[in-house]
Symmetry: C3
């Protein structure tokens, strides 16, 4: 009943995310029932992260000044027991992104690391051939996710056609979702925030919280697609926000395609 709890408690998710997806991330969190707050200034990020239910760090349009703010926020979150979601957008694409992601992982304890297989492979140091724009790789995604979870002592969520969620021991896979998600910018980024909202109200079982978050998200996409496939992806984007608000825990239980 995590969604119901989110909608009752409206957990505050402090998002330090990229300039491309801020609006979509905030609207997605509002739609699902959480409370977004964006704050970036060195002077306030520790304060904000400490009172949040979760902290999202997303490096999509990172600058060196923001890295310092993210470290301040992350260390304050750790101190206050606030879970941290890290999304290493584009790690592997430039050295800067790989280095900065590893620096964040080094300077704080990350609760959930979410990325596509290509991004996670670059952090783990695995040579991987990225096959497409969604960052899918040739090779075993489950092994990759387990390695990341062990190496960074976190729950790893590796998203793709099949999503893998693992703490290094327990492994869940979810095969909900729809390819049109890759046609709307920021759907990966928003998923990180949604995981944050789930973990905020269910800190005692991060693997279960992240798994349900991923299933919920994919189900909302499936329903949105079923209502807009004849209109196009502009319509899908709007319908997806509608469904984030409308999907219930019951729907998630009923429609999720999970394997343990």
């Amino acid at each position: 009943m995590t969604l119901e709890q989110i909608r009752k408690e409206n957990p505050l998710v402090h998002c330090m995310t990229n300039v491309v997806v801020t609006n979509f991330t905030a609207n997605g969190l509002l739609a699902m029932g959480a409370s977004p707050v964006m704050a970036y200034a060195k002077e306030e990020v520790a304060d904000m992260a400490s009172i949040a239910g979760a902290l999202l760090l997303n490096i999509g349009t990172l600058s060196t000044e923001q890295i310092e703010s993210m470290i301040l926020a992350g260390q304050a979150a750790n101190k206050a027991g606030v879970p941290i979601i890290l999304d290493p957008v584009g790690a592997g694409a430039t050295t800067f992104r790989t280095d900065m992601s590893l620096r964040l992982l080094n300077e704080m304890n990350v609760t959930v690391l979410r990325g596509n297989a290509g991004e996670i492979a670059s952090l783990v140091g695995v040579k991987a051939t990225v096959k497409g724009v969604d960052g899918a790789i040739e090779g075993d995604t489950i092994e990759l996710a387990k390695k990341a979870a062990e190496m960074f002592n976190c729950v790893a969520v590796v998203t793709g056609a099949v999503d893998v969620i693992t703490d290094g021991q327990l492994v869940h896979t979810i095969s909900n979702g729809h390819p049109w998600l890759t046609k709307v910018v920021g759907t990966g980024c928003l998923l990180g925030a949604v995981i944050g909202a789930y973990v905020a109200v269910r800190r005692d079982d991060v693997v279960a919280a992240a798994t349900d978050a991923v299933a919920y998200y994919g189900i909302a996409a499936e329903i949105a697609f079923s209502k807009t496939n004849e209109l196009g992806i502009g319509a899908f984007q709007q319908a997806f926000l509608n469904e984030l608000a409308l999907v219930t825990d019951e729907k998630v239980d009923q429609l999720q395609r999970a394997e343990v």
Copy 2:
């Protein structure tokens, strides 16, 4: 006939606002018939503010560099007689936001201060128990608004289920609007910009201009809700932009629920 005048004159509203809501703010201003311009660089903000019809300062994702730009812009606006709308987003949530809002109020003459009750209370120095995510407080919002107007020598617009507009003497209340406005990020921020457009073409009566702006805004939300309540809040967001373009002065006169 303020809307008609806005649609004829297309007043330029110089927005220095937060990264979450820039796009929505610009589209909302275009929809209503005003002309948005965003400019942040120290090198140009004074030039831009001087030629604008109104200047909006919104501290939603403030940095210390931006504060300097905002002061330059605000002082240029004061010199040129351009009205300033200040939106102290999140004042009270962190010390940084409260301090920066008070600094802006100190360094320039603000024409309209717009915030929810919690934000305004933190600036006025009133201890207030915030009841919910929309910043409603326990206690008398009208007294709070009057105090803010007197203390900062401006028109205060305190928004909530009932909106209060006052210059410290005259008090108007508006009870238009819809709760779904709180489900779309940036609707409070856009309202600040909309008030800017109204004041730009009606500088001689700021209380009347702000009151009509608030009524217009709430009416657009009511109509948008009536058309989308079965679809969801993604659809509402789009319909709201539609209605910002379609609502007329006549509709505002006819549908506003105002009290003096």
Copy 3:
């Protein structure tokens, strides 16, 4: 068959654009079949520009730090043979914008310069009376475009009710499009990115690529308007994204109103 090629190759368009339109630009590129990436940090822009299919520089919310990043990116793009699209948003409105645009034109070889007549006139040094918010001028737009193309040794795309595309010799005009494009923020900015995607897959004929891009864009707007004119401009914005995904090369050939 440029659109088909874009949809097959998904060219990476590295966008350094303004904070108002980042999300819309990324979604527009995804809709048409290209791959957007936004990156701004000095540490990575040269890497990113070098592997891109095209680089878009848009000065809409420029800061002095960003100018340095843009120069690094532009020079790396030149070295790697990656075409550059420059959009001098608001040149002429403030001295800062005019100066920065000219500086970019001076520090790198720009492939396509896209702006409205007012912006281009200010760069060319022509005194022009701007007639409206869309930057239309009194006077001969074709001569202006030719002068810009010669002066900056690039293809100039001067947009307005009729769009002019020229390398200084060849002159194409396109009269597709719809006035509602001026009611959605970032449609000019997104056009720059769309031209980037076209030029990325057709570097051997930049004039033809830019002309087709402009026609395609206008046609998508015409179809979107025909489907939403009774709903309003919020609906138009979404339908426009739908059509960017749906319009084909055949539609472009069939519906374009071009003159040479």
